[in-house]
Subunit: 734 residues, 2 copies
């Protein structure tokens, strides 16, 4: 199918300095957990996007010196020849598929704790990081400033050697160049502080020097937060923001605009709960229309709709469609538009699980929608290409059409299994996503900071995409309103059964804090006690005063508190933890949610656990002083204490092997929440993994994956032994 | 000098199964951040201890399956041939120095989030981890139990192949075998749950199988928390604790006893603030004296005193002196006792910085006392051996005898510089340690949980050790009561000047939360406003109602709040963060400190920042809703807002190069807090680093260190490419 001509504009080439982008799709720098240490992951993850049609892909932030070491978080690094060697693999891979390679040169100042290098970061003024705990920079005097600028130059020269086409001087997200520009971080009184020109001097000089060094061979880009969202204390769009673009416009070949800082970079990587598509337009989107630059501009905003894309280009908002999350969710987004396959686009849901793993520090990136993200190299998974299974002659029954079951059935279908039947007890496929995506609260009231509470509606894309794919697969049948018991499943006629029956919320108060149930809790028998499902599905009336107990620390407890408070209830939120919704700090949803809870006057009780419940009364205690009791008289109790796998069907099937054999069922597997409750991203992965490996020797156990690590004894020892020879230590065997 | 004969008992060999320990010094398993991924660091860090006289050194916890993946934290792994290869380097290195190698086989169940492997952990019952956020195990049925036990067996066989002498089935710290044993985690109703024998069955069978597989060749050890400190809900010493030892005594060659769980393992790795030497004696120390075992026993308790060690052996408490932290702080502890060099022992201060980096996840281990810990391989630093500096003919003036200055002078002395003068303005060397170590509060009241508030007195060991070393060095002179100005420093006669003048607490409210000062704050001019130094040194009177503002989030704010509340003041603790003393979670001090603050009725105000101050009144606001104001009427305001480098001397020296030249000063360096405020561990590292590299081409910039990483293009590609060839992805270049 050919594409609609209205999308042609997206496929026009764009010149940036000495390089040309083949179209307007541009993967802006974003983290994946590969850095320079996992060259295979780096090369293959970016390479898949090149194959999928993106005109350029960039590294994540790439450190230019051990003084800028972000460990525990994973950045790329271009410190030495080994890094050149490792990053060159990514460049080769991108070039192989016709895309340009970009590198984002990064110096974090006090935001880089240097826990691996143990070095001391430098900064414009000595103020500890607002993002890190207790990391102070060393004041950069003028010699230091020259040194820092030389770091950028040296790194740029190394980057050119590695094969990069686009070289960033990265100042967004509150990193060094912005620290100089912003009066929030720059309190200097010399010619690098005070006036606009003085504060802009460091960045301008750095751009000049990098351009001088590599500008003939490489395009020079700069990533700039056009408003740091601190009001007059920082960089404001209408003041220094626009002015800086005009001031340095001659020095860049490409502008990459963002908004906000690092401590709250959910303002940039906006979670769908608070920000809709193209949400940065009021900031990054006004520079080009205002004629403040003559250079190409790329910006982001979790844009997945081709119509929004053409509106952005046609309105002159940006020249390039920048993407981080949409490119992770669907690396083939450009190709699918190009080929007119719009319904195949796997749209980002804005849950920010990808970001969560960077925030946690260390793990590879994950994606809820795209289970192959980060798995391209180490497991050899391609997002769009599937081997016919070796046992494709078998038929498979998948019981339960939640995220895990839908994904498993879809991939089994694409692997050409002879027949795949996806059976769902409820009227619709989607599992818990169907009610979870109705949650949240949206009164149109702007958040105290920025953005607007929207709810979790975009999460429904998980179902929409899979519904479309399942419909297209001729070897897959979906049957809803059909609940199978063990005998029916056995006798269904399938040789392989996959159980994906999900989980349910505990009704007895079982929780991770006490590893026990809670006396008096009974959400089955007690009308005033509700599980999250009860709330979402309006199963029971809800009184004026509501107490929500959250022992999970992800989205459910706070989401229900927000919803109920927004609907006018007086809400008390209790959690045994010291912080509210801990995992949402990793998804960048926490700060906005804190503001929502305050705005809606939710009463917060961290470090508090329920001891026992009587009708209308909840007895609680402080976890650090159990003698300190608190008593809550409430009308309704909402219990987000724990989830429990619904594995009854699996157990019944497994416990009767004779019956399975009699029905010629060769294997029974269990996936997703039915195996162990987990986050949606992991449910989909689990279903995908089983389908990818349905023809392995033992599909119940994952195959090994490639671990990119040093293997002692190979020739690389020579590299290391040379260093040791001159040390105070005797080398091995000496 | 020969050792006192009373210590001879420490050097008796001890037989454990088929192996013999050469003496009683035993490095129990502990984390260092090397795992199996950094074989050089693993081998050389453990190897240094073997060289230093330890009879055995163990890995950190070592995962037996991708189902037990602790990423972001770094564990060892013995999953495949690559791990065998990498861990064998450690075994070789230990054997080279006459020590045995131990491996701690680990399966974490729900405490292992599997963020790298994306696998699903199994556990006895499906209750989410109390340590992790939101990680649920999959219920292990009987097939799963066989599988889990086979993981232990397979891992043990691999470990034997790698060269390990001692193989642990690790159940302490709430990991899998203890999860089965403890009713806290085990709610099963089959033969693996309920009665003691049923709950102990998993562990006993695992020991049997591992012994069957490798017991003829290797010593079988088990690490067991004899009391999980949950009362009747868990394992209690007098109930299941002693009973389990008796029940499995026939199956082990060595018992390694601990106490407590993983969520609060500071009860085991007790910070000195709350626990004194040999603090586990009431638990792990009663098993052997009670004749409940016939096997050798090792236990820990941050024991650094040789007299405590012989008391432990002679009283029959343990057979072996187990050590994690004392062996990090001084890898040569056994040798120093053996050689009668007791005053050279570098005693652990119990600050738990070593542990903090494991908790953060990713970074290499650090040690306050021993700057070479973790640096043995990557920087080639030996803790006791020093190259004569190439420029040893030069003389060095070190200005400031705080942690950085003391360490730098000491190492410069050991590197045989012609003359090293350490000059201190105050009457004593030690810098801020001298007053910091007087802080804390000790009323002898037992903590609500366990332990007793003791204060930071053990931190003074940082000074004591260095004082002794400096006294011994003939080329080092220490001068106190001597404050040098720039002219005096220049004219002192030294060719190299090292400025280590430390930092001071801001008196104007400068802080990381607002990047600004606080209106009305002036700890210089206002008698009722105090810095931490003012409090510690009794410089100003303190009123009844005290407000402590903590923007640093490490120990200072809470320590002062604890002290002042303990002394009878009414204390309000404000911090802009959501959690109190965040970094103390990493040092395992936080839970005990929370209980102290509650016990002493400190009023806690997280998420709260000061807006402005008027005489006797502090105006504050909630950081998530700045319109929500709070007003505190107090008599005293204590300001732990930020520290500021005292770099005036350095600036003055550096800004007048002509004067330096005129005085034949060749170089001026700045280290420690004077360069940028940091934690003590990093101050000492900074001083050590400069001294180690004083003869490098540019000592101001650290030399590169070995980064153990895969380097693309070496023969290891062949290993990986084979995997990719069978995938859905085309290999590079195909």
């Amino acid at each position: 199918m050919a594409r609609d001509a209205k999308y042609d504009v997206l496929f026009e080439p764009v010149k940036i300095g000495p390089k040309t982008l083949r179209n307007r799709f541009y993967q802006v720098p974003h983290c994946i957990g590969a850095g320079s240490e996992k060259p295979g992951m780096q090369a293959y993850h970016r390479g898949i996007k090149a194959e999928g049609g993106w005109a350029a892909c960039c590294t994540e932030y790439c450190s230019i010196s051990p003084e800028s070491d972000d460990t525990m978080r994973v950045s790329a690094r271009i410190w030495d020849d080994g890094d050149i060697q490792n990053l060159s693999v990514m460049c080769q891979r991108l070039h192989q598929f016709g895309a340009l390679a970009g590198i984002e040169l990064w110096y974090g100042g006090p935001h880089a704790p240097c826990h691996e290098s143990r070095d001391t970061p430098r900064g414009p003024s000595q103020i500890a990081s607002e993002f890190e705990a207790n990391i102070y920079p060393r004041y950069a005097d003028k010699d230091d400033i020259k040194l820092l600028q030389q770091y950028y130059v040296d790194a740029a020269i190394r980057a050119r050697e590695a094969g990069f086409d686009i070289i960033y001087v990265y100042g967004a997200h509150s990193y060094l160049p912005l620290q100089f520009l912003s009066p929030w971080s720059n309190k200097r009184t010399d010619e690098y502080g005070g006036s606009f020109e003085n504060r802009a001097r460091f960045w301008r000089e750095s751009l000049e020097k990098v351009r001088e060094a590599v500008g003939d061979d490489c395009a020079i880009a700069s990533r700039f937060a056009v408003d740091s969202l601190y009001g007059p204390a920082g960089v404001e769009l209408e003041k220094d923001g626009i002015r800086f673009v005009e001031y340095c416009d001659d020095l860049v070949d490409l502008w990459d605009f963002t908004v906000g800082d690092i401590a709250e970079w959910g303002q940039n990587a906006g979670p769908s709960r608070f920000f809709e598509e193209n949400h940065e337009k009021p900031y990054s989107g006004v520079i080009k229309p205002g004629n403040h630059t003559n250079k190409p501009v790329v910006g982001v905003g979790r844009v997945t709709s081709p119509d929004t894309m053409i509106a952005i280009i046609n309105s002159g908002q940006f020249d390039l469609i920048g993407a981080a999350r949409p490119s992770i969710s669907d690396p083939f987004l450009p190709k699918k538009i190009e080929e007119g396959r719009l319904d195949d686009i796997r749209e980002c849901i804005g849950c920010n699980q990808c970001i969560s793993r960077w925030e946690i520090g260390g793990p590879p990136m994950v994606c809820t929608q795209n289970a192959t993200a980060g798995e391209e190299y180490r497991r050899g998974w391609h997002p769009e290409r599937f081997h016919r299974a070796k046992n494709a002659d078998k038929s498979v029954l998948v019981v339960g059409a939640g995220p895990a079951g839908m994904e498993c059935a879809q991939i089994l279908g694409k692997r050409e299994m002879s027949a795949v039947h996806l059976i769902e007890a409820l009227p619709d496929i989607g599992g818990n996503v169907n009610w979870v995506s109705t949650l949240g609260f949206s009164d149109g009231h702007p958040n105290i900071f920025r953005g607007t509470a929207r709810g979790l509606g975009d999460w429904k894309r998980v179902v929409n995409y899979r519904q479309i794919q399942l419909d297209k697969l001729r070897n897959v049948e979906v049957h809803t309103n059909s609940r199978l018991d063990a005998a029916q499943a056995r006798e269904y006629g399938a040789e392989i059964i996959v159980v994906a029956t999900g989980c349910y919320w505990a009704t007895d108060g079982l929780n991770s804090a006490t590893h026990d149930t809670i006396p008096g809790v009974d959400a089955v028998g007690q009308e005033w006690q509700l599980t999250p499902e009860d709330v979402a599905l309006d199963r029971k009336p809800i009184g004026r005063r509501v107490l929500v107990l959250d022992n999970e620390a992800y989205f459910m407890g706070v989401t229900l508190a927000q919803k109920l408070a927004g609907e006018g209830h007086e809400v008390y939120l209790l959690t045994h933890r010291g912080d509210i919704a801990k995992y949402m700090e990793y998804t960048l949803e926490a700060p906005m949610m804190h503001r929502e809870l305050h705005r809606l006057h939710v009463h917060l009780h961290p470090e508090t656990m329920i001891e026992r419940v009587e009708p209308g009364v909840v007895h609680a205690y402080n976890v650090w002083d159990p003698t300190a009791k608190e008593r809550f008289e409430v009308d309704t109790l909402v219990l987000c204490t724990a989830r429990v796998s619904d594995d009854a069907l699996f157990r019944e099937l497994k416990d009767d092997p004779a019956a399975l054999e009699a029905n010629e069922v060769e294997a029974v597997y269990i996936i997703g929440d039915a195996s162990a409750p987990r986050m949606m991203v992991d449910c989909i992965f689990d279903g995908h993994r089983l389908a990818r490996e349905i023809d392995s020797p033992n599909p119940a156990l994952p195959l090994p994956f490639i671990r990119e690590r040093r293997l002692w004894g190979l020739v690389d020892n020579k590299v290391y032994d040379a260093v040791l020879a001159s040390s105070d230590l005797q080398p091995m065997g000496a």
